[in-house]
């Protein structure tokens, strides 16, 4: 019982939270600092965007090819070999 209380007190002082007020919050909210860009997040966002666009372009081209192919097939089947 004492150890978690001590840990909570240490965390409270270390985290710059509500100070020495006797609170029992389970977590602390920290103010975000924007001094450094979040390079990992930026890289992840750009990589994901690029992958999504690449997939979209590929899918669209495949769709167009398949549609044209089926159109040719249907024309060939209906009119026979002209």
């Amino acid at each position: 019982m004492a150890a978690p209380l001590r840990a909570a007190k240490w965390l409270r002082l270390a985290g710059g939270g509500p100070g020495l007020a006797l609170t029992r919050s389970a977590f602390f909210a920290r103010k975000r600092t924007y001094d450094q860009p979040n390079w990992f997040g930026v890289g992840l966002a750009f990589t994901t965007s690029a992958a999504l666009w690449a997939f979209l372009f590929k899918q669209h081209n495949e769709d167009v090819m398949e549609y044209e192919r089926r159109k040719q097939e249907r024309h060939h089947k209906c009119t026979g070999c002209s």
Partner: protein, 96 residues
Amino acid sequence: MPFLPDEARSLPPPPLVNKGSVWLGLTGWLAALLDNGFAQRPVLRAGVHRQILFITVGWFTGYFLVKRAEYVHAKLDRELLDYVRRHPEDFKEAGW
């Protein structure tokens, strides 16, 4: 249930710039701008990577949703016109 059955591929695909993609891309962008606003960051200049990602996700989703909507509409049209063809007595011209 598949998202799109195979026969949907016989339909012309929507263009890359289509109503659904543009609209959802814009909503994605608005979501990113709102996120900037709520986090008290400069609304347009901050988190450009986030704006681009949200626009991309919206655009991507819009393309597939439009494809599915066009398939559903085509299927309904086919069934409707088939019914009209099979029941000509119910669809006579006016003037009786």
